[in-house]
Symmetry: C2
Subunit: 488 residues, 2 copies
């Protein structure tokens, strides 16, 4: 395929994508396929000779689409949103076209510099303390990671190195292995599994801190476990606070937790993967109060800020904490400018070496929506979740299971976990909408997350009517069964 054919096919692809997104509502949100569906549909091995674009193109509808879960359907209410917008798609095309690999400043200066400045823009939008910004010569700054999981891992690793160095100075009798064996990381029992995974990868212990009845971790809970662990010779070194937990979007109490971490020399990382985008609205910014105590902070524009995956924004107060944990400099990656202070080599900030020009997506989205356009998007989603909440509350058979703060509603039928599992099953088998569940303590709960950029009030009403009808049908057979069981 040459440039001339690319012009033609690229335009066809643009139309295909526009059609797909414009009419996505008409597609069944969750596919019908069974595991293993795809293999029999395609050849056993790659063709020897080139096939035409037409051949490949027609297989998209035949082979791919039947197996796609349509994350951007307005009937998709599962997980958390995956961001998507036209400006981001355009930027990603450009990113592919330029195709640079920006692991160092010299490998493509624009790629590094736009990223630093975009993270400053974004930091200012959520009113991050100055210390987290790169500015002209700050010690802090931002970086785009591929995922929140990587941001948590990177901060845990930086904290590990920093703590080992400090303890080695204080207690020279301890070997590195001794210290590693005593390090403990902490996070809420509501924290995302990526925190436990980061600790597993880093080879350190990890303990859950009990959340309170609003599913938030408060200062006293952290203090209790720290005191116990220190008394038994362990070394607490890392706490991951969550703003907007995955199960129910609860918020850890930063203003209580932060001072404890600072006093105890514990690195505080904040994972606001989903909720962070909301902090661009002044009315939600108070949820971030206490960030001034943190060492690192992360949220995912690729979840809720209309920037397509992958774009996870992370800031640190001291960039040297990250680079100090990893810096390795083979000659072929060194370059003329690197000691100039002005230069950032982002490969020292991340797990992979290579990196795409992802800041283009942020640049396009921030400019073409403007702050107000993005605030409108967040506010619409929050409004719709409250609409759903009210519909649930009007139906006595149901209950709301956690405070609705942003775009997630946790709800259930008053009744057993079994009943609610049956309800979720009937919802997902009907495939008119798509949801996933969670556990809040021992309770099985349905999560209704406002996801699609194009979801409107009518879709919420439809979803609720549908759920309510399925509940009616379910309760009928359920009571009959129950009745029969009583009679037997």
């Amino acid at each position: 395929m040459d440039a001339a054919e690319f012009r033609k096919r690229g335009k066809e692809m643009v139309d295909y994508i526009a059609d797909y997104l414009e009419k996505i509502e008409k597609r069944q949100v969750f596919p019908d396929v069974e595991p293993g569906y795809l293999r029999p549909l395609i050849p056993d091995c790659a063709p020897q000779d080139p096939e035409s674009f037409e051949d490949v193109f027609k297989d998209i509808e035949k082979i791919i689409m039947p197996g796609v879960t349509h994350w951007h359907s307005p009937y998709f209410f599962a997980y958390f949103p995956a961001a998507s917008s036209f400006p981001a798609l355009l930027a990603d095309m450009l990113c592919g076209g330029i195709g640079c690999v920006g692991f160092s400043w010299a490998a493509s200066p624009a790629c590094t510099e736009l990223e630093t400045v975009m993270l400053d823009w974004l930091g200012k939008m959520i009113n991050l303390p100055e210390e987290f910004l790169a500015g002209k010569d700050g010690q802090g700054g931002g970086v785009i990671q591929g995922s929140a999981s990587e941001a948590t891992l990177i901060s845990l690793l930086a904290a590990r190195t920093k703590t080992i160095r400090r303890v080695q100075l204080e207690k020279p009798e301890l070997t590195e292995a001794d210290i590693m064996g005593r390090l403990v990381a902490y996070a809420s029992d509501q924290a995302h599994s990526s925190v436990e995974r980061a600790a597993l990868i880093g080879g350190v212990k990890m303990k859950n801190v009990s959340s309170d009845d609003t599913f938030s971790v408060c200062g006293s809970a952290l203090k209790k476990v720290l005191d116990e662990d220190k008394a038994s010779g362990l070394i607490p070194f890392f706490f991951c606070a969550t703003l907007g937990t995955t199960p129910c979007c609860s918020f850890d109490k930063l203003l209580e937790l932060g001072p404890i971490c600072n006093k105890e020399n514990i690195w505080m990382h904040i994972d606001a993967a989903y909720a962070g985008s909301a902090f661009i609205c002044p009315e939600f910014r108070h949820l971030l109060n206490g960030v001034e105590f943190a060492d690192s902070f992360n949220f995912n524009p690729h979840k809720w800020l209309l920037v397509n995956f992958d774009c996870s924004a992370m800031w640190v107060k001291k960039r040297s904490d990250l680079t100090g944990a990893f810096k390795l400099e083979p000659l072929y990656l060194q370059h003329h400018h690197q000691e100039s202070g002005l230069v950032t080599d982002y490969r020292h900030w991340q797990i992979p070496l290579g990196r795409r020009f992802r800041s283009l997506k942020l640049w396009f989205v921030l400019r073409m929506y403007g702050v107000t356009g993005l605030q409108d998007h967040i506010r619409k989603h929050v409004r719709l979740s409250h609409q759903f909440e009210h519909l649930v509350l009007q139906d006595e058979r149901f209950e709301i299971c956690a405070e609705v703060v942003l775009g997630l509603v946790c709800f259930r039928l008053k009744g057993s976990n079994e009943l609610n599992k049956a309800l979720l099953k009937s919802i997902n088998e009907a495939k008119k909408i798509h949801l996933v569940p969670c556990h809040l303590r021992e309770t099985f709960v349905l999560r209704f997350a406002i996801c699609s950029r194009t979801v409107e009030s009518t879709h919420i009403k439809f979803a609720w009517q549908h759920i309510s009808q399925l509940a009616t049908a379910l309760l009928k057979t359920w009571e009959q069964n129950h009745h029969q069981q009583l009679q037997q």
Copy 2:
């Protein structure tokens, strides 16, 4: 921006990218900007109100392009190639349009299933032993990682868990921290820095094994250090063999190393980040002999197989080794089919949770080039590197520093490191072509890597003439200086 505007702007972007790539040769390969160039060119913060696409678009040439290193210019001979092709760009557009996040089978079955089958296709193309393929019910299989660094890290972590479990059974008196403190990973002194980094992240020791005069690690070198380390109570657990080292594209001797690793219960990972693509040509496949002894194998189609970044292909013999190292299952990520055996949840195979639909790129590229088209691409690059090698060899002032096997030529002026540093400086300051250096032992060497998809024999000739002229000019002043120094 609505779908209608996206149709218009998307097509403009397609044309822009086609223009960029068609005329890339006319752009100076390396930019003129100094560190910090970009910040003064754009506002201090994001705009409140939306800007038009035109405004953003015109800034691409004004603000971005002046700071771009043009990786796809036929005058770019630095690092290793970054793959780019039109079919891959089209597939990536589609990937963005669908915008699913395929962390589990249910999150988008097509995303998972196409990946498994594409990695089987690719595995067959390089004639990987059957055990590495997923097939219908194999124990092995492939996965797309974001980078070779991640593949190395993942395999090191899997090896670490496996070894800790084994040693705990054999020596119950050792704690996990004791075992961690004794684990040692190994790689060639020529290995990529990502191996050392993986060990750093995993919290284990790492030692270099000395390579021989062809910069390859042979069995006896590994055996020597293993014997020493075992004698001093350490636990060797991981060896990363490199096929195609970054400095000079040398090859570790798998057929000697593999049996040693197998005997000693050491996980052998093969990093063929760059060279792996060449194994699709039967005449280069012998370089992979011995892969049958490995536990995991990785190469980057995003380097040399025309699949745009990021697409790093990794295979394991036992998928349970990977998933066993990480598996954590919160309820909101569980789904109906997951215990069916047929189902792969790729999040257990990787560091991040989220993942894009990257296998589309492989599917498009493999079909639209066909195996023969891709072989042609590899063979052309290898031919061009030999062309350059011959040009160097015809000039007595120069020498070749390592055997030219694939698309990389290591060369230098006969003379001091200082002289060669001065030559590289004059090449890169002229900015007609772009190269990076490396060290081979104590020797400073220039690396000439065939990179661009569109590079032709004429570009090689031009590059050589240019280098040769700069060398003539340099040697003149150098000798004058030398002469003056002698006289002083």
